[in-house]
């Protein structure tokens, strides 16, 4: 099993390298235009040459992502719990949340620019809003899907409200909360990049890409996009996977799907 996994990832890397090689070859023989598609050697050179600048942009974007995501997570889980707890609160807020969830973050940017101006306040607040909805939605569903017998059993054994919350509601709804967190993080990431396109003032990967586009610097645009892909791939496959392994898989709530 382990051996097969190794061969699989080896194959994956080979194919991605092959993809870059063909791209390079095509631009060298001018089958595709360098002015439109750049080429891997130029992109690689760009990464080596401006690595400090790239890291600075990356750190600013990550800082925005982490800050807005964590604020959204805490408010979202807390509020989702309340929504799951009470049927009336759920009925009242569910329609509002489903409607607002359909609005993409970048569309809110012009309004927030008027309110807060260009820069961090706008980017962060839109990031928070966008990440908040999936988290609150799934946390509420998680609490609502709890088997009432478990709650009653805990009550009979003398659990007070605090125990009930910490030992019954929170662990049981954790599967759903994690789903919400995954969706929220992905949306937050996408939105932070998108809003950086139009609202950032000097740093951030989105700002860097958009600035390069306005000067038609194709190589930087492609470099930026490849970095975006690598960063998100890492976040999803390494960090989130690790969190899932330590929580959901360990508690045996979710059965890993064999694919």
């Amino acid at each position: 099993m382990d051996f097969r996994k190794k061969i699989g990832s080896f194959l994956a890397i080979t194919i991605i390298l092959l993809f870059f090689f063909i791209w390079e070859l095509f631009s060298n023989y001018e089958i595709i235009q360098i002015a439109l598609f750049s080429k891997p050697s130029l992109i690689f050179g760009e990464i080596l040459e401006n690595s400090i600048e790239i890291i600075a942009h990356l750190l600013v974007t990550l800082y925005r992502l982490v800050l807005s995501f964590f604020i959204a997570m805490f408010i979202g889980i807390f509020f989702g719990m309340i929504m799951g707890y009470s049927r009336y609160v759920y009925r009242f807020f569910n329609p509002l949340i489903t409607t607002l969830m359909a609005i993409p973050g970048i569309a809110m940017a012009p309004v927030f620019i008027i309110w807060f101006g260009f820069g961090d306040p706008t980017i962060l607040s839109i990031g928070i809003i966008v990440a908040f909805f999936p988290i609150v939605y799934n946390s509420a569903i998680g609490v609502r899907s709890i088997d009432k017998n478990h709650v009653n059993a805990a009550k009979i054994m003398g659990a007070n409200k605090k125990h009930l919350f910490l030992k019954v509601y929170l662990p049981h709804s954790f599967t759903y909360i994690i789903i919400g967190i995954k969706l929220g993080l992905a949306r937050c990431w996408r939105t932070v990049i998108a809003v950086e396109f139009i609202a950032a003032t000097g740093f951030g990967l989105g700002y860097w890409i958009w600035d390069a586009y306005e000067y038609l610097n194709v190589t930087i645009v492609y470099t930026g996009i490849i970095i975006l892909a690598i960063v998100f791939f890492t976040i999803e496959k390494v960090i989130i996977r690790e969190v899932e392994k330590r929580t959901i898989d360990k508690w045996g709530v979710l059965h890993e799907q064999e694919s």
Binding site: L11, A12, I13, I15, I16, F19, L36, F37, R91, F92, F93, P95, L96, T98, T99, L100, A102, I103, P104, I106, A107, M108, A109, P110, V111, I113, I114, W115, W189, R190, I193, A194, F197, I198, G206, I209, W210, A212, Y213, L216, V218, V221, Y222, G224, I225, L228, A229, I230, F232, F233, E236, S259
Partner: protein
Amino acid sequence: MYCTNKNLKETIKTTLKNTLIFILPFLVVIPFWEVISQLNIIAQLPAPSEIFEKFLYMAFEIDVLTQHLIGSIYRLIIGYILAVTFGIFLGTIIGLKKIISDIFTPILSLLISIPTIAWVPVLLITLGLGDETVIAAVFLGGFFTITYSVIHGIKTVNKNLINAGKIAGAGKYKLFESVLLPGSLVSLIPGLRLAIGYSWRALVGAEMLAAMIRWGVGKMIFTARMSNVVETMFLGLVIIGIAGLLLDRLLLYIEYRTVVKWGMVTEG
């Protein structure tokens, strides 16, 4: 006859009741919002009545709203249809052929990590500043999701059904048409619903960034920024929210009429 009539009545009754429950919170929030903005507690927050006035003005007096809507819907439909067609095609090939799956899966999982909006600068450079870019963004928004859902659908078709089909003498084409394709609908149809959400979002984002288009709901918000007309921005947001919700409900309805009704998935 009487029975079906009664059923129909029941259905209409529950639908009406659900719609009412859904609308009720808005009936509480909107007056509240009106009061807050009339008292000027938050600067630059237009009241719902002002937004509605703007709606009447843009829809009937200068008659631009329909053009914005038509522009957006036209791009959405073309991009989404392309995404569905190519997504199902690629997903089927990858799902069926091991070699192609080995080649494409790494590239796909790298490409899917790129946010759709980040493609827009590349598309603007390669396809120009007009409609093509927006349509391509809509396409990319839905394409990967649909491809993945088809692959997943084909992989999770019950092996017994495939074997039964083979034993009954189905050829490769027959097996695909009568077993694999219907079997993968379980995953494809929810995938289509996810994809239209992504496509809709990509559409709005790309419309805001593509400079050469005139009409479109995203464009409407973006041009309102130039002249600082907050009412138009909010009107745009309201339209985007409602349209996104309606699209989702449409696909949900299709989901209920197909896979849920056929008993392939339980109601969520």
